[in-house]
Amino acid sequence: MTTFLTYTIIGLVVGAVYSIAASGLVLTYTTSGIFNFAHGAIGMVSAFSYWELRVHRGWPAPLALLVVILVLAPLMGLVIERSVVRRLRGASVEVTLVVTLGLLLALLNLSYYVWDPTLGRPLPRFFDGSKVRLLDVNISYHQLIVLAVGCVVAIGLRLLLGRTRVGLAMRAVVDDSDLLAMNAGDPERVTAFSWALGAALAALAGVLIAPLVTLDALSLTLLVVNAYAAAVIGRLRSLPLTFAGGLGLGLVVTYATGYFPQTESWDRLAAGVPTIALFIVLIFLPPAGVARAQASSRRVPGLPSTVAVTASAIAFAAATVVVARGATLSNLISLGDVLGFGIILLSLVLLTGFGGQVSLCQLTFAGIGALAVGKVGANPLGFLVAACGAGAVGALVALPAVRLRGLYLALVTLAFARFADVVVFPNSAAFGSGDRLAVDRFELGPVSFAGERMYFVLLGVVFAATAAGLLTLRRSSFGRRLSAMSDSPAACATVGIDVTRTKLAVFAISAAMAGVGGGLFGGLHTGVSANDFTMLGCLTLLLLVVLGGIGHVSGAILGSATLGVIAAIKPGVAEPVQRILDLAPGVVVMLVLASVPDGVAGWWGQRVESIRAWRRSDLRSPTQEARTDVQLVG
């Protein structure tokens, strides 16, 4: 009984932290329409700032808390709202989430820049860990404070939203910000206040939990992934349900950790409980209405002719032959990475660029593919298993979320990437913790691609064929259906398209493509480990392909080339520059994506199109222009 009570207290403490973090997330989401994936990173930076003031500079705890929670964090929220959120008004879901993911990566790398991640930073508990004894259970003052703060936040938010003028304005901005503006309210100020308050809540959660766990930038940032399930229980809008969900989740996680057998595998599974909870919650969440068309700044590139596609693919493959003959072996591996990642990124071009669906776990599918090829063999059967295995897992992951809005798909895929990170890949049946799984290079009967040069050509041919295949697919009936689904799911349903099935199909195909890419990537390095397919890697890849231009096959190669360039120059530069290189993708995405939502390839395509249009108009006579006028109804 005492053990159970102890676990219950710990569970409520952890749950209170989840609840505080999740309520901040819900608050900012409902008032701005932007789900802040960097919410945990704000909490993490705040916890480190608290360590800096409290431990490193020796400030008294109350003063350090006051400065971090009531000054620094709200300021961070305001700066983010002013510099990032406002520019995202009217942007598509994929742009908003990629921008906040960029913010997450930027804050994470910023913390590495400021606080050396290799050093340990113990953070003392409040009142130096003093305890009281209640019902035979030792409860620390720190735990009591966390519980009390949880209650105060729950009651405080309820009073704020229900009894105050600013709370009324916050609810009004959720309902209709334009109407609020017409009634002399200021929606922008209300949203800014919500972001400041949300950031303060993130900071509070970070400062409260950091002394109970290790002060580690990554794990604190990702702690909020656990809070997603709580936020989803509240359907991303109800604070009381979010609070209840957070407490429940904290209890379940703690009971799992406490009562599961004390083996490595069970420990990992316990760590994956929040993801499993998220899946279960999503399964029981009632479906939203069919999504209507949203104003999107996304421009879809024109369709090149079949001849142009074929010629380009052959030229690309031929170019890889030339490079394979001339480049050094070490350069071939680096360039091979560009092609390998390029193939994986093409799967995102299909899924997000063409189909309008979001995946934050594409590299995880690549890991499943590499695992299949490593275990089954680098032969056609191995790659078939890689494609089918990754495709099947992809469909299973997407299944609970595809009937809901796009954001839920992002949440569930991110949670799955984390689940694979923590539970699946480190398992000894998979890659093993810190181990490396040997992956051979592809063989087709007597034809072996074991040599670096042959393998590079193989990667080039597969990339070119996949890119050509995607462009051809856009001309097909399925390709039209994908574009239609991306533009207006509601209209799709009313012309007889099964939107859920189409989403599942494209998700499975794209996961299968990533699986094959992962298998090829594994062969390039003749082995892989769990570290090759991390959740952070997934996010970086997504950011790079979005910067390259996710609606374009050239965007995939631009994205992977950027990754290749960063990887190539990083070892040769000083450490501060290395840190800046790590920071760069996130910062660039934050700064430019709102203005250039189609990425570099899209921007370039528009420039070329404008020049062509200008030339045409210059050559066209006024009589010709008149002839193009159209009688609308004949």
Partner: protein, 238 residues
């Protein structure tokens, strides 16, 4: 025989009753009007009929079959098509592909030929290869109509199809509706252009605050004092 019938459909949003036991029918080969002031529940009723909005009570029948429990795409495959008041274009596709995707998903034989016929009928032939998001509103509404027709429907729901058209185009559009009905289609028309409704509809239903307040021929509805008070008001009285 009535191709589409709606029986006692009720929709509640929390405490608000958006539709209160609304019943009406749209027979084959006729244009039936559905009018009412803004917020009367016309679009909500369209959403319920097409399966985009669940009803709290009531039934929707297509050719006598109760389709209330079917998802939107299954209803479309049974011959129900619609256009939207707030445009729902496949903006990244060309005009031809907007229609083609509809014809293909419905399994229309020789979809390309069928689509070209519809484009020609609507006068959209010269715009076939234009990206749909580059079109003005009036033309986009025609494309939505073409897309609905490409599914070879038996019942067609049109939500404000003439807004954005000029007088000349509206007149042509009215003729087109009459022709389509003559081909056997059951058309349910929501339209703010009262003249167009009175000109092409054989029966008109009037909704107000989610309640059907009148039904009958255009002249009958025009004279109904309740309708005049609720909707037509000054325009007709004057």
């Amino acid at each position: 025989m009535s191709s589409l019938s709606v029986e006692d459909v009720t929709v509640r949003f929390g405490g608000v009753v958006a539709l209160d036991a609304v019943s009406l029918s749209a027979p084959d080969a006729t244009v039936t009007g559905l009018i009412g002031p803004n917020g009367a529940g016309k679009t909500t009723l369209f959403n319920v009929i097409t399966g985009l909005q669940a009803s709290s009570a009531g039934a929707v029948r297509l050719g006598g079959e109760d389709i209330s429990s079917l998802k939107a795409h299954h209803r479309a495959r049974r011959g129900l098509a619609r256009t939207f008041q707030r445009l729902e274009m496949f903006g990244s596709l060309t005009v031809r592909d907007n229609l083609l995707v509809a014809a293909e998903s419905r399994g229309v034989p020789s979809p390309r030929a069928a689509v070209d016929d519809i484009l020609a009928r609507l006068g959209l032939g010269s715009l076939a290869d234009t990206r749909a998001n580059a079109l003005p509103t009036g033309t986009s509404r025609l494309v939505e109509l073409g897309r609905a027709l490409a599914t070879a429907p038996t019942v067609l729901l049109l939500d404000e199809p003439a807004s954005g058209l000029d007088d000349h185009e509206t007149e042509h559009f009215g003729q087109l509706l009459v022709e389509l009905a003559a081909d056997g289609l059951a058309i349910l028309l929501v339209e703010h252009d009262v003249d167009l409704v009175m000109q092409v509809c054989s029966t008109v239903h009037v909704l107000d605050f989610g309640v059907r307040i009148a039904s009958g021929g255009p002249a009958e509805v025009r004279e109904d004092p309740g309708v005049q008070a609720a909707y037509l008001g000054e325009e007709v009285v004057a």
